[in-house]
């Protein structure tokens, strides 16, 4: 560990990984609840066009990616609202447009090849500069502040969009807030795990956490813990075993997910047993109507 911390580039990499591991699951929890788990993927594809534009115009690829991804996210939200039924096809069109645009534009930029894109496709956390760190930190604060400010509204929106409208909440504006926040998260995670794996850090820790929790808040906190642990663990593994950091982080998170599924199964069956013995001991249930079917997923 000490050896790793003596290296400047590793200190920067660890800092970036922790920030990403913390922020991605926060917005991811809302995306999963909203059934938009793949939104991060779509935005990632679009962000690639932004990276290429950055190279082409000689500006910062991260800044250009942030702008293009935010616009793309707004576009996706617009398509989702307007084209109700063919929403997924419209999203797919945007994904492919993003990738193709990125590859095409990077070829036009002087002194770059498609190989330049690889760093953004799969991440290259070891080449993170201190300027990048500042950028990532600013984005992280922005994302966390947005979620903190709109948290209650976002919970209602992601839980039940119709109820949100019946509360008079500005549903369109809040949807846009989620999409743009997700776009910023994608961009800040891009350098660490790459656009192809960004969505994994948003979704996998949440999927793992929800196996172990009964509340939204606890799921969110647990997902952040799993995200940070995966980021640190994956990066250390990559350092010592000399493997790709982005892939190591994501595979570690998937390992936690598998363990969480098993643990959640055991916990639920133990709890189910406790409940059935408790019910059997009590008086017979009153009423003539049999209980309706379980409303949710916990039918272990």
């Amino acid at each position: 560990m000490a050896e790793m911390l003596q290296l400047d580039f590793m200190r920067r990499a660890l800092l970036a990984a922790v920030l990403v591991g913390m922020v991605a699951p926060v917005i991811g929890t809302f995306l999963v609840q909203r059934r938009l788990a793949l939104l991060g993927d779509g935005i990632g594809h679009v962000a690639l066009t932004g990276v290429a534009l950055g190279f082409l115009t000689g500006t910062s690829p991260v800044v250009a990616a942030a702008i293009v991804a935010a616009i793309g996210a707004g576009l996706i939200e617009l398509v989702r609202v307007r084209a109700r039924t063919s929403g997924d096809v419209a999203l797919a069109l945007l994904f492919y447009g993003g990738i193709a645009g990125g590859v095409l534009l990077i070829g036009l930029a002087p002194g770059t090849t498609t190989a330049t894109l690889t760093a953004y496709l799969f991440g290259s956390v070891s080449t993170v500069t201190s300027g990048d760190i500042v950028m990532v930190a600013v984005l992280a604060v922005l994302v966390l502040a947005t979620v903190g400010y709109f948290g209650r509204e976002l919970f209602v929106l992601c839980q039940d969009e119709e109820a949100a409208r019946a509360h008079g909440l500005p549903v369109r504006m809040l949807s846009l807030v989620i999409a743009v926040t997700a776009a910023l998260t994608v961009v800040l995670a891009m350098r660490v795990v790459g656009v192809l794996l960004v969505s994994a850090l948003m979704v996998v820790p949440v999927a793992a956490a929800q196996q172990l929790s009964r509340s939204f808040r606890v799921t969110l906190a647990l997902a952040v813990a799993i995200g940070v642990a995966s980021a640190l663990g994956g990066l250390s593994t990559a350092f010592y075993a000399d493997v790709a950091p982005g892939a190591a982080i994501v595979l570690l998170a998937l390992g936690v997910f598998a363990a969480a599924v098993a643990a959640g199964y055991l916990v639920r069956s133990a709890r189910g047993m406790a409940r059935s013995t408790r019910d059997a001991a009590g008086a017979p249930a009153e009423g003539t109507m049999p209980q309706t079917e379980q409303g949710g997923v916990a039918s272990s």
């Binding site: 999963v32 839980q159 019946a166 929790s213 509340s215 209980q291 409303g295 916990a298």
Partner: protein, 277 residues
Amino acid sequence: MSTVTTGVPAQDRTSAGAAPAVRVADAAVAYDSTTVLSGVSLEVPAGEILAVLGSNGSGKSTLVRAMLGLVPLSSGSVELHGTPLRRFREWGRIGYVPQRLSAGGGVPATVREVVASGQVVRRRRLHRATAAERAAVGEALEAVDLADRARDSVHELSGGQQQRVLIARALAARPDTFFLDEPMAGVDAASQRALARTVTRLSAQGATVVLVLHEPGPLEPLIGRSIVLSGGGIVHDGAPPRPEGDCARPGHEHVHPHADPDPASAALPDIEVPRRG
């Protein structure tokens, strides 16, 4: 229980001249050029318990959803408490109970979290819940008999209990105008009783309640006025149709066994309620 359902004109209970809780004028709704509602005009005075009855596909849910702006009108207008829907801002006065809990993406949420989310428009940003707000959540949970399940995930509850969670969510912000979309469909007897008790209490407090129902069922003694929709229009408006007349109505789907024929002894009969298809 029948004491609260005297059918006293609601104007007697509220100040004269107050705007009706809901005013619908010549409303029409069409989904993809298929007309679902047309020429519907209706006023719901403040304090009234109104049942919106009709068979499946008669447009009763659409009417209530149109009242809240959840489906757009193709013509006509809706006012809530005297304000056109577009300019209506007092959403804290509205409690909406949808047909069922939206499953969402599977992120768990506790009963308390969902119920507390009903206060979203009343809460102050970046502040924790005040004691009064927490008390309101506790009261709402008590009202539907779910206080002991507050820390459980809503996904672990039965359909009837989830329905009660939704009612508690509407109660938590203490609104005075309620819209309940088929609250009795597929709900167990205990949940039916909890719901009837809640509506009785709301009625006594002078709340306006619009109930979409497949049939009056156990709530019948509470209903002050009912409208029957058929083919997208109002075909009956007035006193609740008697069970005999109701069952004789053309197009009525008679799908439940008869309850005790004496309604006095069966204020809340444990009858089988048709389940949603």
